[in-house]
């Protein structure tokens, strides 16, 4: 076993130190050391995108990033998406437009869409489908995910949106 290394990065706004073997994958560190189990493992070959987190302003598949590569990085996971008790517009959108079913792909979808909307605040359906193609979903057929992203885009642009879900605040169960 090779010697362990201390790695410091910012996770959802919080300075985080972990001690890992160089071979440890970021997804395992997030899930098992940081206890952030939102990012999921669906394929381990960087096809499914369930492990997607925002990493220094990029959407990355954390199953294919070494934790040691995260030294000094800014990492945002789905757990950090809601701010000050307020759900992110994307989280609202997914609930409002029925953009999820089993929920397993959802954290990855949300984090990918989060970065997409930073880069393109008004994406067409075609653009959403193209720029979300790194995330697999087996339940929804993507149609409502597209709607959910469009909903969030509208809301983030300050346009009116219908919010009929009664549980639109963070942490309600």
């Amino acid at each position: 076993m090779s010697k362990k290394i201390m790695v410091s990065f910012n996770l959802n706004g919080k300075e985080t130190d972990v001690i890992v073997e160089p071979r440890e994958l970021l997804i395992h560190t997030l899930r098992e050391k940081c206890l952030h189990t939102g990012p999921h493992i669906g394929c381990e070959t960087s096809h499914c995108g369930a492990c997607t987190v925002d990493f220094n302003g990029m959407s990355v598949k954390s199953c294919t990033v070494l934790t040691v590569q995260a030294e000094g990085a800014e990492v945002l996971s789905v757990e950090g998406l809601a701010q000050g008790g307020e759900l992110h517009a994307l989280q609202e959108g997914f609930m409002q437009e029925h953009g999820l079913q089993c929920g397993f792909c959802t954290p990855g979808m949300l984090m990918r869409a989060y970065r997409l909307l930073q880069e393109n605040p008004d994406p067409s359906e075609e653009e959403i489908r193209y720029w979300m193609a790194g995330n697999l979903c087996r339940c929804t057929g993507y149609q409502n995910i597209v709607k959910a992203v469009q909903y969030a885009a509208r809301k983030l642009r300050g346009e009116a949106v219908e919010t009929s879900h009664p549980l639109m605040t963070a942490d309600t169960h």
């Binding site: 073997e21 598949k61 990033v65 979300m132």
Partner: protein, 288 residues
């Protein structure tokens, strides 16, 4: 899906990286985007004792133009290529090609230099670079050398990169205004390698094709230059007959390996179809 243990090195400068590479030699592997090497290590087909991460070498990033050349740092990512206004205006073929590579998350990590150094005939940049007449800057202990893309790829996973060398920059003669271009790729789904793909650049002078370059992806041991097809087109108008002849010659150059994407016959035929598509749309683009 767990890699074997290894030592990790994150050099801060190119000389440091080269020093590490020569120090550990065979035992060391370079880590760029990691989307070929890490999966390989997770399946334990690869077990380098030392991993040298080029991620901190900012000097290997960036896209600029100087002296009629577009110069791209080897660690420039696919998305950076796609979003580059310089490339969109002066070398749109790279943008069109990069957009067809893998998926968005992988394009944030995957790098141009990594794609080329890997020497996989399924990668898309080798053909794109051949079609653009690019050359590569290779840095090693003995200094720098510049080699043309054409001839750089020796076999599957073998290139002219010597042990201890790192690809640092890609140089592309800025395409003349009015150059027609196209990358036509047939794949089973997003994220797949090409069943076959064709990269084309050409110009039209006096109604005839000139300066045409055709390169093919994933239909031989390496990316392939379809020289015979190019010669057949040179100085001719792109009518049905010349197009058919060029396609025939491009197919003749193919020697694909059968896999779940199809047998050799299908892949060869698809190389022909992609060549036809790429030539046709490059021609249309050159006209307008």
């Amino acid at each position: 899906m767990i890699p074997r243990p290894f030592e990790y090195h994150a050099p801060r400068s190119l000389p440091e990286a080269i020093a590490l590479l020569s120090e550990y030699g065979d035992e060391a592997k370079l880590l760029a985007g990691g989307h070929s090497l890490l999966p390989m290590m997770k399946l334990r087909f690869a077990e380098p004792a030392h991993l040298i991460d080029l991620g901190k070498l900012s000097e290997l990033k960036g896209i600029r133009e100087s002296g009629g050349e577009i110069r791209i740092g080897a660690m420039t990512t696919e998305n950076e290529l796609i979003w580059s206004e310089l490339l969109q205006t002066k070398c749109p073929l790279i943008v069109e090609g990069a957009r067809q590579i893998s998926d968005p998350q992988v394009r944030y990590r995957g790098t141009l230099g990594g794609d080329l150094s890997h020497g996989d005939p399924g990668n898309d940049h080798p053909a794109l670079m051949m079609a653009l007449g690019a050359s590569f800057v290779l840095a090693g202990g003995q200094g720098e050398r510049v080699v043309p893309a054409d001839g750089f790829f020796l076999g599957t996973y073998t290139t002219q990169l010597e042990p201890g060398e790192i690809m640092t920059e890609i140089r592309i003669p800025t395409p003349a205004p009015g150059t027609g271009y196209c990358y036509a790729k047939l794949k089973r789904k997003t994220g797949d390698f090409a069943t076959a793909a064709a990269a084309v650049t050409l110009r039209i002078s006096a109604g005839a094709v000139s300066d045409v370059r055709i390169a093919l992806t994933n239909v031989a041991e390496t990316a392939l230059r379809a020289s015979d097809a190019e010669h057949a087109l040179q100085g001719k108008p792109l009518d049905d007959a010349t197009l058919a002849e060029a396609v025939r010659l491009a197919m003749a150059a193919c020697a694909p390996v059968a896999d779940l994407r199809g047998d050799a016959e299908y892949k060869t035929a698809m190389a022909g179809e992609m060549t036809r598509r790429a030539l046709t749309s490059a021609y249309m683009r050159a006209l307008h």
